[in-house]
């Protein structure tokens, strides 16, 4: 199924065009496609779902069934920096709960909430595969390990700074 007017950037659209061809069945491209679309758009809006359903050739219902199964996929916007703190056993033993509480306090938001400026969102997550280097967190896809509250503050600060940086860049 070809898509006449895509809502994605041409690079991503081209990537999608290819993605559906590399598997024995087109549908295999669905989950990666959703994730990449989310990376570009921030979340899976109705329009995204419509286009992806079309590209794969399945119903929107079917697409939503799949989306709602996977915990990384979201149909609501998150913060620009999505802070995901692991509190699972290995991290918990090394102070993950304190890290998570610290996040809540410094960001002033609770689990699965977004700061009013849209900069940060916070989520308590399950094991992210950093157990031996816990407590650990991911900000978007980046890993931060052996965290302490101070380390974490630095990470958040870096996020804020890089936005400022970007803002400057685009003004120049």
């Amino acid at each position: 199924m070809s898509v006449q007017e895509t809502i994605f950037t041409s690079e991503l659209a081209a990537r999608f065009d290819k993605l559906v061809t590399i598997y024995p069945l087109r549908r295999s491209a669905l989950v990666p496609m959703l994730l990449y679309a989310q990376d570009e758009k921030g979340y899976l809006s109705d329009e995204v779902i419509t286009e992806i359903a079309q590209r794969i050739g399945i119903t929107e219902l079917d697409t939503r069934n799949v989306i709602s199964y996977y915990s990384l996929l979201r149909t609501q916007p998150a913060g620009r920096y999505h802070v995901q703190v692991c509190t699972n056993i290995s991290c918990m033993l090394r102070g993950a709960n304190e890290i998570f509480d610290h996040c809540k306090k410094t960001l002033g938001i609770g689990n699965k909430q977004t700061t009013p400026d849209g900069m940060f969102s916070l989520e308590e997550v399950e094991c992210i595969g950093a157990c031996s280097w816990g407590p650990a967190a991911q900000v978007n896809y980046d890993y931060y390990e052996n965290l302490t509250p101070e380390e974490l503050d630095k990470v958040l600060e870096k996020c804020r700074a890089s936005v400022v940086q970007e803002g400057k860049g685009s003004q120049a």
């Binding site: 549908r27 419509t50 050739g57 399945i58 119903t59 929107e60 219902l61 079917d62 939503r64 069934n65």
Partner: protein, 789 residues
């Protein structure tokens, strides 16, 4: 397939290889509980109710996914299994609202039954149960999430069974939920199969919710009044002030010809019976030109007197009769007998939606070539030409899909439109709208008959190789095209045929001689043979067909017209003025476009309010049982007899009541209050034997069976609720005259959500149409996609 022998609870069982353990056990009476398993749908292994112990396998196994094997030793009655079943129930009840007292499913809930049987009475959880408001998904479907036990039956019946795929599972873990295709509502075929198949009260129907408790209803199984498939529908009834009201339709025991299936019309569109515009008093046109209520005496006297006048002054040939597609065979038979014998006219017709006459002629002399609806579910190969069964024959469509899915039947479709069944087709051919005749020529070998391509050649080739092909054709085929089609098909070994018409008893109307040139059983009026013996003198020249009657009327040549259960004025776009010089008697439920023009309107009962038989489009004969009752209306049968009586005819000569002891089969006689009262009154007044009255349709069924050889079916089986094959056709039709004969077919073009004039009075159909219009206006961009499974 070879059989295997194995042991369950010490009992030796033999079953064919490949049988699922759960089915094998059930067959010999070993009950294995199941929520998610449903015969004919894909396996889930989700509810874990069916766990059994199989020797040599370390873990408990699900009987619903385990095929039986030679020497297998199975235990289902041990403490371990009892505990496993109890545990599953405890777990599923943990989050269940247990609002049984107000739940629609209460009393017919599989969860209740199992809890009763396998016990999980004590709840050891102290946590709050989750509560969620119930949601309305469509005019038909409501969802009550906390009651859902996630057996996925609804999802499968909608997807696999209906090929609609409107239900899905969303989220995961304990937040898993059944979801409709349009986020907060459903857009589907509204068949209600999901509701029917739901083992608990999670899915309920808008039509029935909170109306009553199942045990407070009476249940009568009868035949759906809508399309030509003739599904059995079980009506749930309760007494109300003005009779007996239908509050539910379903196919609970799956014993009908339709098995698991009912479409929205069979399940919910009984509601026209309670429409506020339903006529319950006769109407007579007053000198001021207005129709006004009258007593039965007055109306019948007046109608009878005027009809007799016209007959006696202008002759029977100046009277016309139009019958119905939805009245019983007995009524149709009686109507034509009344027309021919009492009115003395052959001007009798009905709204024809298929050319059965040509079909009968073409099949003449070929036994066993007419297909039953059941054949569509079992034939190894099917050729569907024309028609759109999903819209016009929902039950047939179900059978075809099921047959393709479960038996890998080969479905071939030739159509001018993109019909939905193309999804199941192994091969298909798109033909021009006027290419149906050409297609047959082409299939028969005439390359010039159709603009052939490579794919059409391939299509032809596979068709011609088929043995045991079932050929289904729509009203695109009429007259000589049917002969050509049948001739082509007869050249294939064991091919069978079915001609698709539009309404519940369209076939019966044709079979029973609601035709100007044919008596019951397609016997030409010119050679009445046994009918002459039975009826005495009969008009022997063909009468006017429906269109000709109106032409005659507009020329002032039709003195009177008697219309039973039909709305020709709307259907044929008749100018109202056409009938201004015609005395018009209309029997109907509503003041239709035809009825408003009438001089006398007689309020009639519908199919759910009477007893008799109907014949579906395939020739399957089924019993219709009186279910509902409405004060103030009478069956068409009774009205015909009463009119005849008023015209001075001897009712005994019309309906041979009081003789023919074959009719004396008691229990299926009309027994509901109103009808039996009227029987009693008539019988008492006329000093007649107590069991038979002139309103007894079985007296006429006797006569039909005597005079129409096709209808000589097993009477007892019929009365037991089975569908019986009529055996068409007869050879009487005169080939020469049939060449010039007009087929008079006007396809009804109904959809899933319409049903002629009747459908307009169904509020559920209205609501569905309306909600689709408003909702799809908002979602105009919604694409309908082929679902790859």
């Amino acid at each position: 397939m070879a059989d295997v022998t194995f042991t369950v609870d010490g009992k030796q069982i033999t079953a064919p290889t490949g049988t699922l353990l759960i089915d094998a056990c059930r067959k010999v009476g070993i009950e294995i509980p199941a929520f998610c398993y449903y015969p004919g749908l894909s396996l889930q292994a989700a509810c874990r109710m069916c766990l059994v112990r199989i020797e040599k396998i370390p873990k408990l196994q699900t009987a619903c996914t385990t095929p039986v094997a030679e020497g297998m030793i199975v235990a289902t009655e041990t403490d371990e299994i009892k505990q496993a079943r109890k545990a599953m129930l405890e777990l599923v009840l943990g989050n269940h609202p247990l609002d049984c007292p107000v739940c629609d499913a209460g009393g017919e809930c599989e969860l209740q039954d199992m809890t009763f049987k396998y016990g999980a009475a004590e709840s050891f959880h102290t946590e709050m149960k989750q509560h969620r408001e119930e949601q309305q998904w469509s005019p038909v479907v409501y969802f009550d999430r906390p009651r859902c036990i996630l057996c996925y039956r609804c999802v499968r019946v909608c997807g696999e069974g209906m090929d609609v795929w409107a239900l899905g599972v969303q989220n995961r873990g304990v937040t898993s939920i059944i979801a409709p295709n349009k986020e907060d509502h459903l857009e589907c075929e509204e068949c209600g199969a999901c509701i029917d198949i739901c083992p608990v009260g999670a899915l309920t129907s808008g039509a029935y919710r909170y109306k009553t408790r199942p045990w407070e209803m009476n249940h009568v199984a009868t035949i759906c009044t809508h399309c030509g498939d003739g599904c059995k529908t079980t009506l749930g009834l309760r007494s109300v002030d003005d009779g007996v009201e239908i509050i539910r339709g379903d196919n609970r025991d799956k014993s009908g010809i339709n098995g698991d299936f009912l479409c929205i019309k069979g399940r919910y569109s009984f509601d026209f019976a309670n429409h506020k515009d339903r006529l319950t008093k006769p109407l007579v046109r007053r000198p001021d030109g207005n129709l006004a209520p009258a007593t039965w005496e007055e109306a019948l006297d007046y109608a009878g007197k005027r009809l007799a006048e016209v007959r006696d002054t202008r002759g029977g040939a100046s009277i016309g009769v139009i019958g119905s597609n939805r009245t019983t065979n007995e009524e149709n038979y009686l109507l034509q007998k009344f027309a021919r014998k009492v009115l003395g006219t052959n001007n009798i017709d009905h709204h024809r939606t298929a050319d059965y006459t040509s079909f009968a002629r073409a099949l003449a002399g070929h036994q066993d070539r007419a297909a039953s609806l059941r054949d569509a579910g079992t034939a190894p190969a099917i050729l569907l030409i024309g028609n759109d069964p999903t819209q016009q024959h929902p039950m047939l469509a179900w059978n075809l899909r099921t047959n393709v899915r479960l038996n890998r039947a080969r479905l071939y479709v030739a159509n001018h439109a993109e019909i939905k069944l193309l999804r199941q087709a192994r091969a298909s051919l798109a033909i021009p709208q006027d290419g149906y005749a050409g297609l047959i020529g082409y299939l028969a070998g005439d390359d010039s008959a159709l603009a052939g391509t490579e794919s059409s050649a391939a299509f032809r080739e596979v068709i011609r190789k088929e043995e045991n092909l079932l050929i289904l054709f729509g009203s695109e085929y009429r007259g000589r095209d049917i002969d050509a089609l049948v001739n082509f098909g007869l050249g294939l070994p064991n091919a069978k045929f079915a001609c698709l018409s539009d309404y519940n008893n369209s076939r019966g109307a044709a079979d029973m001689g609601l035709m100007p040139d044919l008596l019951p059983g397609y016997q030409p009026v010119a050679s009445p043979a046994q009918f002459a013996d039975e009826y005495g003198n009969l008009p022997q020249t063909g009468g006017l067909d429906l269109i000709a009657m109106f032409d005659a009327a507009s020329r002032g040549e039709l003195g009177a017209l008697y219309v039973v259960g039909s709305n020709p004025v709307s259907r044929y776009n008749i100018a109202p003025g056409a009938l201004k010089d015609t005395f018009l008697v209309v029997q109907d439920m509503f003041l239709t476009e035809t009825a408003v023009l009438a001089d006398v309107v007689l309020p009639a009962a519908n199919l759910y309010e009477k007893t008799g038989t109907v014949t579906n489009t395939y020739g399957d004969l089924q019993l219709v049982k009186k279910a509902a009752d409405k004060a103030g209306v009478r069956s068409d049968f009774e009205l015909i007899v009463r009119l005849a009586d008023r015209m001075g005819a001897n009712p005994k000569e019309l309906v041979s009541y009081g003789i023919g002891m074959r009719a004396d089969l008691g229990q299926s006689r009309g027994v509901q209050s109103g009808e039996s009262d009227r029987h009693a009154v008539w019988l008492a007044a006329n000093h007649l034997e107590p069991k038979l009255s002139p309103f007894d349709p079985f007296a006429i069924l006797d006569e039909i069976q005597r005079l129409v050889p096709d209808y000589q079916v097993d009477r007892l089986a019929l009365l037991a609720g089975n569908d019986e094959r009529t055996v068409p056709p007869l050879v009487h039709i005169d080939n020469a005259s049939s060449k010039t004969r007009s087929d008079g077919v006007l396809p009804a073009q109904d959809t899933l959500f319409t049903s002629g004039t009747l459908g307009r009075y169904s509020s559920i159909l209205d609501e569905v149409m309306e909600s689709r219009e408003t909702k799809s206006a908002g979602a105009a961009a919604t694409t309908s996609l082929d679902v790859s499974t």
